[in-house]
Symmetry: C2
Subunit: 310 residues, 2 copies
């Protein structure tokens, strides 16, 4: 039963939102409306594009505009066009003025103070224990914030992942990575019903991807599994694998396979521990040294939405 796990999460939520949530706002505000303070903080000493800030804070466009005007009137920020050469003339960039920067520094200081006010009443030993437990909670919360969902391989975020993937493997393969030598995967093969491309995001930032090709009559094939190193070790790869398998299984496939390079040792370990078994070469991929396969169990419940192929 998960009820005791759920209960501890709830107790945690309660204590923490009380202590951290409430104080955090209070420390942040400094007489100024909270929304303004947050905005100021989010712009940061290096400035930021208005659209980016809006996305991060999830604000209404009109509301944000008004908040910026207020900060501008207070002489804390300036909003101007994107100075970059060839920049988009529509996007505007918010930057802190001298006194805005001072204010930001103050907020930064207060944030330190808040943190310290939590640690201060504790002994050195307990401080240590608290911070390690916090780090653990934070890591695992981040892990649970990663969302995996289907996405077009044309999507700019998908493109970014695929570029990062190519860069990564180029670095790890013995002889670099030349796409021309590798068996190409066309986008159409990763678009339903031929296959699917899954994107992993953390706060809508892309942090991983994976795809599966569903070619009738042959096992499903996994391609392009990549995880950003910012979230490595949090089980994202494993989840991605699971979702891809589930996708294939739901559509009637009973086996799934993949090829991989001998240098990707963690990936290989992950495949093995996820139930993949090494098989004979089944393709002519130039960069592959190992081939793996896993039998898929038919999905549990009703929803038999597929294809009885294979």
């Amino acid at each position: 039963m998960h009820s005791d796990l759920v209960a501890s999460v709830r107790r945690f939520n309660r204590t923490v939102t009380q202590r951290v949530g409430a104080l955090d706002d209070e420390y942040m505000a400094r007489g100024r409306p909270l929304a303004q303070a947050r905005l100021l903080w989010e712009i940061g000493p290096d400035g930021a594009e208005v659209a980016a800030v809006r996305a991060r804070l999830g604000l209404d466009s009109g509301y944000l505009s008004r908040l910026l005007r207020n900060l501008e009137n207070d002489g804390l920020v300036t909003v101007g066009p994107d100075d970059q050469l060839g920049g988009d003339g529509r996007v505007r960039v918010a930057a802190l003025t001298e006194s805005g920067r001072a204010e930001w520094t103050e907020l930064d200081k207060r944030s330190d103070e808040l943190a310290w006010s939590i640690l201060e009443p504790l002994t050195a030993q307990r401080r240590q224990r608290l911070t390690s437990a916090m780090a653990e909670v934070e890591r695992l919360l981040v892990a649970s914030m990663v969302v995996i969902e289907p996405c077009s391989p044309n999507d700019p975020r998908a493109r970014a992942c695929l570029r990062a993937y190519a860069r990564d493997v180029a670095r790890r393969f013995d002889d670099g990575f030349d796409p021309a030598l590798s068996t190409p995967v066309r986008d159409e093969q990763l678009i339903p019903p031929a296959g699917v491309f899954l994107l992993a995001t953390l706060n809508s930032e892309p942090v991983g991807c994976g795809a599966v090709k569903l070619h009738p009559g042959t096992p499903a094939e996994i391609k392009r599994v990549w995880v950003a190193d910012t979230v490595r070790g949090l089980g994202v790869g494993r989840r991605m694998l699971g979702e891809l398998e589930e996708y294939a299984a739901e559509r009637g496939w009973t086996a799934i396979r993949l090829d991989t390079n001998r240098n990707l040792t963690e990936a290989i370990a992950m495949y093995r521990s996820a139930g993949y078994r090494e098989i004979e070469r089944y393709n002519t991929e130039h960069y592959a040294h190992h081939w793996f396969e896993k039998r898929l169990r038919p999905p549990r419940t009703s929803g038999s939405r597929g294809h009885s192929d294979n």
Copy 2:
């Protein structure tokens, strides 16, 4: 330097207020104003006195009244006089109606769902790790939320602690505890400048106490150190001791002592580990078996009691 400790707390604050704080509010609200939802939740299925709720949520009296009226108009709660026999005619009790109870159950369910939505993406092993880390964080945050401050020994909260103290020792001493046999401590002896009474509170609930008598010409004397078992093991006793010592030291005392019963073994261990050394009997307290003393270091100059490292 504690900068890395502070940095982890800050990272934690950020992640947690984002993930837990924001979602918690959203889950709670359900279309209704958040304040009303919170109030409804706080009243709970068993009802609650208006004053108690106000204290817990820290709301303005007028504001709370209005919120209650709104909930009443929505048919979710009823506010009536205290039904209890001989109850105070001024205090009013809020109780949930049938549909208020349904709403509360719904909130309870959503709270479970929120918790589960955090656990769900994780593997069983990570769920386990997350919940234990959360429990650790929560315990230590609670520890850091305990506030210790001077208080009159007449204060009802102080009285409650002293009663609890008497109850505790009566249970632990070999032959019970008869105040008449014990050397009495008069309240005046615990009021500055003759001494001080310190109260430990958690969310303004009393959870511990301690006192020191400052009799000129003799060492300071610690009395009545007690900690509620809800917060035992969190270092509250140790902090209390430290504050009492600091109080005496700041006023020029260079030694502090206390007596204790042989059955209070954890207390004795704490005194030893806090630097107290056993000495000869110095009083005729009926229930005492051990006497301890500690030399006090003169306080650091100036009022800089900020970030005392270590």
